[in-house]
Amino acid sequence: MALTLEQMRHLAKLARLELDDAQLEALMAPINALMAHFEKLQALPLDDVEPTSHSIPVYNAFREDIVGTPLPREEALANAPEARDGLFIVPRIVEE
């Protein structure tokens, strides 16, 4: 099935992408062309097959609960778009 503009708007919202209708329409053709290739999977007999999320078995990796060397605060903040008093500065997220 092919994605509609309405679905594209919804997906852009879910993915936090500010895209207008013209941009979404331009993206639709390549996305739908690629998705047409997915359809062949629908024909496979997969009912009794276990899914693979990793090719090599991966188990929980535990370690001793010992404090390591943390990243110094100033280094952690060095790439911040805006920082002050040792904190990240972001737009206001609660109303006054």
Binding site: L27, R63, A80
Partner: protein
């Protein structure tokens, strides 16, 4: 011969014998970069001063009698591998000014060995692409033909090695991004077994498929770099605690009795001259004593469809971290926190990345998860089982790395499907987590062809041995292939 043109193994022998210094070698490479880079565009960031400093340190270690194969060797690092204090952009506007506060484990290991970092190599943005044309900064040209792409996504790493601007390089491979550019540029590239090399500090694209590996001039060089970067790392829970063998011991020109499987599906739709070069290499290996038999992996044909659900799904999740808050680009802070995230992401990501985020978001969204993501994961199980079955009959698989010779810049950049078909022979290897090596294998239409050698999990030694044997046959003066 000019120093920068020599292989890693030859140079490290010269360093060991103190015939040359690391500084001399680094100066040769740096000045070659100054002359050559304007034509190729293999790098996003050059680090000549860092390289000189590292070379000086290597010389001090050599003077004290220390030696290992990478000590003093100039290398390029793909720009999605974190380097402390050196800008790491992932070829994206969203990370254009990002300077990592830590080293990737592979980089820490290279530094410990004493390798010299000459620069950060160009790539497709977030490693999504097969031509390096999706770099947000500039394309890279194929050193063998400047009108053509170097492949991708590790196109800068492969082009740097092919044009002698680095003695060796690190790339990353999610669906063929080391092997395909290595094939296109006529150099050697290895995607190790999933879990063989730590991914800590590799900027994530699709975490269940990503793997770092070497791009080098020879198979021997490839073994020497792998030796340093392979091994369990507590910082990467998916790195596997399997002993690291001595890869140099695998470098014997001997394939007698080895069973080579030729997967017939991997020759379908392949450019006839590419197929012919690969068949000639297989015939030469048979002549050298290998047993060759045809095998079948029918699910491989479904690999592309599985990959383009699984990789975008993982990418949509991994790339959620770019929100303009803690690092990277920030746009539209006046729009509130959600508006800022939406504006930052839309402006910071390129078109190809946005496409994959949307596809991945769709594949993971409620109501479609079972139809797409779960189906692809189940298909992956069947594909893995087919490889397992075939590897009961054969020791390695041999086939082309890419279905065609390198294409021209601009030729496929706007075709959503054709460029992705270039990964059709490499993607199944990532889905199954297997090691895959690409070794130069003659020319088609005058352009490089890659022979792909696929092995059992953690059997890099046999893969390298077959590659090494083929390299010896190819280089032997009495032979013609």
């Amino acid at each position: 011969m000019a120093l920068h043109t020599l292989s890693l193994s030859v140079l490290s022998e010269k360093l060991r014998r103190r015939e040359i210094s690391a500084t001399e070698l680094t100066e040769a490479v740096v000045s070659h970069i100054e002359r050559t880079e304007p034509q190729i565009g293999a790098f996003i960031t050059l680090t000549p001063e860092l390289a000189r400093q590292m070379a000086k340190e290597a010389d001090a270690r050599l003077a004290e009698g220390e030696w290992n194969p990478l000590l003093g060797i100039p290398m390029a690092i793909k720009d999605n591998i974190s380097t402390r204090g050196v800008r790491t952009t992932c070829a994206s506007r969203i990370l254009e000014n990002y300077v990592p506060p830590y080293d990737a484990t592979v980089v820490a290991r290279l530094k410990q060995a004493g390798a010299v970092i000459v620069g950060k190599a160009n790539m497709d943005e977030f490693a999504m692409g097969g031509s390096t044309e999706y770099s947000a900064f500039h394309p890279t040209r194929n050193p063998r033909d400047l009108e053509r792409v170097p492949g991708g996504s590790s196109g800068g790493s492969a082009a740097a090695v092919a044009s002698d601007m680095a003695v060796a390089a690190l790339g990353s491979d999610t669906g063929g991004s080391i092997r395909q550019p290595a094939a296109y540029c006529g150099v050697v590239g290895l995607k190790p077994t999933y879990g063989r090399v730590s991914r800590y500090g590799l900027i994530a694209y699709a975490s269940s498929l990503d793997q770092i590996g070497p791009i080098t001039k020879t198979v021997e060089d490839c073994a020497l770099v792998l030796q340093v970067i392979a091994g369990k790392d507590p910082m990467d829970a998916t790195s596997v605690d399997v002993p690291v063998p001595d890869y140099r011991e695998a470098l014997r020109p001997d394939v007698k009795g080895l069973r080579l499987g030729v997967p017939k599906e991997f020759f379908e739709g392949v450019h006839p001259e590419v197929a012919q070069r690969v068949q000639e290499a297989i015939a030469a290996l048979e002549e050298a004593g290998a047993e060759v038999r045809e095998v079948s992996i029918p699910m491989a044909e479904q690999g592309l469809a599985m990959y383009y659900i699984l990789a975008p799904a993982e990418c949509s999740s991994n790339l959620a971290r770019y929100d303009g808050v803690r690092y990277g680009l920030r746009v539209g802070a006046e729009k509130g926190h959600i508006g800022m995230m939406e504006a930052t992401r839309a402006q910071g990501f390129g078109k190809e990345v946005i496409q994959r985020i949307i596809i991945g978001t769709y594949a993971l969204s409620s109501g479609y998860y079972d139809a797409y993501y779960l189906k692809a994961q189940k298909g992956r199980t069947l594909l893995r089982q087919e490889f397992e079955r075939v590897f009961q009959e054969v020791d390695v698989l041999v086939c082309p790395t890419a279905p065609t010779p390198p294409f021209k810049l601009g030729e496929l950049v706007d075709d959503p499907v054709a460029m992705k078909l270039m990964d059709v022979l490499t993607i199944p290897v990532n889905l199954a987590g297997l090691p895959g090596l690409s070794v130069p294998c003659g020319l088609a239409e005058g352009l490089p062809v890659g022979l792909q050698i696929i092995g059992k999990p953690f059997d890099e030694p046999t893969v390298l041995r077959v590659g090494y044997t083929w390299e010896q046959i190819r280089e032997a003066p009495s032979q013609t292939p």
